[in-house]
Amino acid sequence: MFSSSSTTRKIAWLTGLPLLLLLLSGCSGYDPMAWLRDAPQSTFDAKGPVAEQQLQLFYVTLWVTAFIFVTVGSVLAYATFRFRQRPGDADKPPPAQTHGHPIVEISLIAAAVLLLVIIAVPTVRAIYDIYELPDDEDMLVIDVTAYQWWWAFEYPEEGVTTANEIAIPVGRKVKFNLRTFDVIHSFWVPKLGGKIDMIPNRDNWLWLQADEPGQFWGQCAEFCGESHANMKFRVFAYEEDQFQEWLEHQRSDAVDPEEELAVEGKERFQGRGCLACHTIQGHDAMGLAGPDLTHFGSRVTLGAGMVENTEENLVRWLRDPDGFKPGNLMALDQNVQNLTDEDIAALTAYLKSLQ
């Protein structure tokens, strides 16, 4: 047993220290949680109505449970301290053998139910707000198909097909039709809203909206095999006119390369069989097994949101696709394995030219 003075000191430290830290952080303006909002996939940085409602609901659950934790925790801490065995207690008769107290028990149950209702009401409201399709004629429809481990995007009304990076208009609701033909994946853009799974033989959908322009990170959230970690994508929210420009550009055929090396690359893209799996609109490449590369050069990322789309990374990718993204289909292809340095240099120049 510790003496009472040292106990008091301990309690002072235990309660005082966190309070002191809190005070210090408040005065200095240092925000230890800033990183949490700045993280590109942070759920605390809601940029659309769906994510915002989910965040607000999270705060309701957080405050209610924090209240219960502090209340129940204080009673538990008090009881633990107050009723500790003191020297000499062991020789005294045992404490009163009380077996319960119906009124206390029932009122605690009632209090718990009441607190849960505070969570339940906004939960049910949010379920109907988020998971029912809003009635909106202006809604943009995007068909998303997930593959191991990349994303195909189609704008059926606008006639646009692309991969791994998409644009949406600010302030308009977007309905994503979520499809997969291999295994289960999950479509998640944390700053715009929670995830919905893509399940074979199941027609799922999700609506999202961006309230301001920006670049939002997305990632597959359901384990889908070896390179699950490398299945990412980007969503760009543009103002309406910029979005229309983007659509126009995406609809157009691929530009013809001018640079000598790039022209060489165009030939090798056909000669090495790349066209069997990739589409490059206007360049006689119509393969469907891999991502559409028509405007590859204009994308900011490579390998389904994995890394920045630089020449250096592209060379690395072509040289060793399996080391770059373990298990991916391209690594199994004989033609890819047999690419020479000249092939890679030419292909890189060509692909980068596909603005």
Partner: protein, 665 residues
């Protein structure tokens, strides 16, 4: 006790003891040894079986722990190249599978086995040989499901470790997307399911039928009550996964299409079946833990459990509601709004009986004389950690918010608070509470507190930051994360915490060894206990109770110590002259070996490997023959039995019979 003519069976056994088995024909003659290797392999004594469950579970706890540390090492820094994607996927699959099915469940089963008969005043479980069969089948499953680690070292076989997650979502488990590792997982879980269902039936019958006279259901100690509820959950929940796994096996081996989209199958079907099992499984892991804590808190507060009846009914309600909330694991699968609402509300409802338990635990220590022994601080630590895990559970129940949390590290944090802070801390409570009874040795309190605080600190440093990581956008089951995702610092902190937790558990093993080797004698009742197990010697004699106690109140042993009239009860209970004990048997283990062989044959059936008869029906048939022969032998050898005479041994230490098997512990 088996109902039979005890006199004649005892005679038979006496004859057998005299005759020595000769040759193969007599190799399976009923064993009689109660000591040595044969004694342990053929034992039907619930205490020895409990110890073996415990040793195996602690071994698998180390295996699963090493897997966890490798995972955390990989995640310490962004884009780490330490572990390949494939190995990482294997590690988290096996970590989850191992911890749930091979560490936490069997560690609970160790207490079921050892403690339940002692708490309810019985001399063994209802079906002692079936109990041995559960143990050997569990071990077979544990060995089987881990075989891949060894096979992977052979040049001929690749990808023998499952890498589909412990949840094995279809259709990543189909023949198209995964290899023989999935077959090992499928048959491994089936074997473990057999072990669990058989054990659960055994404990239901034991707790309902074998209570000492006077022990009405509302006098059954809380741990035993929770085991009863858990056992019902097991027999109701495991069939769901058995069916799910059978369908998956058919898909993989015989070309059916339950989960195959190309045949019109539904991968989503797997999720429903899996979570109809999987959610009750969570309560299968936590209810015994709550039972253990409900034993320790009253003992160390010197007060009865506050609101015994309401705690019992809360446990039952949790068990029932546990079957009505499975789809909260599937909020992101595109359920209808009605289904989402129903499952969200049902999930919130389950928080009420859980909260009731916490209130009543506080009520138990309120007004008591709390002794801060190692088991008590583990129990108090349990309440704190379980509260945090419970609260993040309520957050998940808010379905739209769960849309952000699902499959992120927030969920990882949540269920580790429930399973480590909850189940494992409670199991450590149980170990510190009951091992003095099991071993007859006492541990050092000082080191015990070191173990607790190291584990407590390590656990929180590991898992609390994971709440932030998850809400910061880190998905689960990813072997790498980018350096610019803002997740670097807390991943490093989490990894450091994991190693502190690892040191804490290592310290526990050191503590355990020290206690067993050098501990002072614990005596019968080191904690001033309240339930019947403390009324007998430590370790208990083979027959547990020389005289079957006449139960007159809820905390029977406490009442006998405190109430003068009840003290007389003890004087009236005369040790029986001759106690009938069931005979050991080889057959439970033989049947389990048959299952193991058959399962190996089945796993290799469509593997494409064709050495030593693998890839054909040869080994499955051999396995089936051994199982059949084993069951026949089991049936025809009968329960058997022999007699022990407590009074004659009284001279050598009270009712305690000297057990030479102590040496091999």
């Amino acid at each position: 006790m088996p109902m039979q003519n005890e006199g004649s069976s005892a005679k038979v056994i006496t004859e057998e003891r005299e005759s020595k088995p000769v040759g193969l024909a007599r190799a399976f003659k009923r064993p009689t040894a109660t000591t040595g290797l044969v004694g342990w392999l053929t034992t039907v004594d619930h205490k020895k079986i409990g110890i073996m469950y415990g040793v195996a579970a602690l071994f698998f706890l180390i295996v699963g722990g090493i897997e966890a540390l490798l995972i955390r090492m990989q995640l310490a820094v962004p884009n780490s190249e330490l572990i390949s994607a494939q190995l990482y996927n294997e590690l988290f699959t096996m970590h989850g599978t191992t911890m749930i099915f091979l560490a936490v469940m069997p560690l609970g089963a160790a207490f079921f086995n050892y403690i339940i008969p002692l708490q309810i005043g019985a001399r063994d479980v209802a079906f002692p040989r079936l109990n041995a069969f559960s143990l050997w089948t569990f071990l077979a499953g544990g060995i089987f499901i881990n075989t891949g680690w060894i096979l992977n070292m052979l040049p001929a076989i690749d990808k023998a470790v499952p890498k589909i997650g412990w949840f094995g979502y279809a259709n990543l488990t189909s023949a198209e997307f995964s290899g023989i590792g999935t077959d090992f997982w499928v048959f491994g879980l089936q074997i473990l399911g057999i072990a669990s269902i058989v054990a659960a039936l055994n404990f239901i019958v034991t707790i309902i039928n074998m209570r000492a006279p006077g022990m009405t259901m509302m006098r059954v100690p809380l741990f035993s009550w929770m085991v009863l509820v858990t056992s019902f959950l097991i027999i109701l929940a495991f069939p769901a996964i058995t069916i799910a796994l059978a369908c998956l096996m058919m898909d993989r081996l015989f070309g059916t299409g339950f989960y195959e989209p190309v045949f019109g199958g539904q991968p989503i079907l797997w999720q429903h079946l899996f979570w109809i099992f999987g959610h009750p499984e969570v309560y299968i892991l936590i209810l015994p833990a709550m039972g253990i804590v409900s034993e320790a808190l009253p003992t160390f507060s010197r007060k009865p459990l506050f609101g015994y009846a309401i705690i019992v009914f809360s446990g039952v309600i949790i068990g029932v509601l546990g079957f009505a909330v499975w789809a909260h694991h599937m909020f992101t699968t595109g359920l209808s709004t009605i289904a989402k609402t129903a499952f969200a509300l049902a999930t919130m409802a389950i928080a009420v009986p859980t909260g009731v338990k916490i209130f009543n635990w506080i009520g138990t220590i309120w007004g008591g004389q709390i002794r801060f022994t190692t088991p008590m601080i583990f129990a108090l630590g349990f309440i704190w950690m379980f509260m945090i895990g419970g609260f993040s559970g309520i957050m998940h129940a808010a379905a739209p918010a769960d849309g952000q949390q699902h499959d992120t590290y927030f969920v990882v944090a949540h269920f580790h608070y429930v399973l480590i802070g909850g189940s494992l801390f409670a199991l450590f409570t149980g170990m510190y509470y009951w091992i003095p009874k099991v071993s007859g040795k006492m541990f050092s309190e000082k080191l015990g507190k070191w173990v607790f605080w190291t584990m407590f600190a390590g656990f929180n440093i590991t898992f609390f930051p994971q709440h932030f990581l998850g809400l910061g956008g880190m998905p689960r089951r990813t072997y790498q994360y980018d350096a610019d995702m803002g997740l670097n610092t807390w991943n490093m902190v989490s990894t450091i915490g994991a190693f502190i937790l690892g040191i804490g558990i290592l310290l526990f093993f050191y503590h355990l060894v020290m206690m067993l080797r050098k501990g002072a004698p614990s005596g019968n009742d080191p904690w001033d206990g309240r339930t019947l197990e403390w009324s007998i010697s430590s370790p208990p004699p083979e027959y547990n109770f020389a005289a079957v106690p006449m139960v007159t109140s809820r905390d029977e042993y406490w009442a006998r110590k405190m109430i003068p009239e009840k003290k007389k009860l003890i004087e009236n209970e005369k040790p029986e002259k001759s106690i009938h004990m069931p005979s050991p048997s080889w057959f439970p283990m033989i049947v389990s070996i048959g299952i193991l062989i058959g399962a190996y044959g089945m796993a290799f059936l469509k593997s494409g490997y064709s050495f030593v008869g693998l890839g054909t029906l040869f080994w499955p048939i051999v396995g089936l023959l051994i199982i059949t022969a084993g069951i026949y032998g089991w049936a025809f050898e009968g329960p058997g039995g022999y007699h022990l005479h407590p009074e004659e041994e009284e001279g050598s230490g009270g009712y305690r019979k000297k057990e030479p098997s102590d040496k091999s512990k």
